[in-house]
Amino acid sequence: MAARAAERIRKAIGLVNSVADGAGDEEITPTEIAEAIRDCLEMTEVDRVPNVRRYLGESLDAVSDGMPADFVAMTLYAALGALQEGGPKL
């Protein structure tokens, strides 16, 4: 279900936003964010809609390259947007 994939992407976005917003209630490492994105990539649903896997891959690369949290978030939002536009209503 696309809803499950969207939920996982939202989890990754939430982690990145916690870093960007300085929520201060959780120690979040790049490894945890990368794990959350890999969880998304492991789902077969992301292959059913064009570009979702590509955006997720780009966001994983961005984490590996130490890009700013906003950049990672933007790429994840792109993945979520593609999933919402290409899949059933979430």
């Binding site: 939920e7 300085g22 209630d25 700013p68 906003d70």
Partner: protein, 214 residues
Amino acid sequence: MDSAEGRGRTLDEAIDAALIELKETRRNVDVKVLRETPEETVVEVSVIGQSPAADSSAAPANGTAEQARGLVEGLLKHMGIRAQVTVRPGSDPSTLDISGRDLGVLIGWRGETLRALQSVTNVMVGRSLLEGERIIVDVERYRQRREHTVREIAMRAARQVKMTGDPITLDAMQPFERRAIHLALEGDPDVMSGSIGEEPERRVVVGPRKPASE
């Protein structure tokens, strides 16, 4: 920033007393509880929202904020959304206010679209930002209102915790909302806040502060 002290038997009465003095509405103020006893509550109410009319008299916005304002304005134009973008005077971090009609589409589910717009804006002006500097994007003061609302929720939860001694778990919130709660309660000697769960279902728990000796 204008502020006034309010006193009353309850939190609401104290806030209302200060609002009358300031001639403001709850929407435009920030509330800090100074003292709370069974007999009396004392609050400090500060005006944080300035009306658009006050914008012209405010200090000029910094260059990066102006650059971000222009970019967001262009972005909205490409999206076919008619809205006005202004830099909130005196805001730190710099805040862009987007106002117009029917802007719900820019806020999205639980503010998701607004948050995405903020991420894009920060990426666009990233090179002009100093280390740790950020641009906040707000639509029709949605974010500001949410922060006020969660602060009030935090204060109510804190009062209940003080009365019952039992911890309270709040609804799932976004990072900026959780941050607002932690900041609202950090100075309270009787209660403390923490978070449990995983995104996007992460929740703040307000509980009694344990003595340092324990």
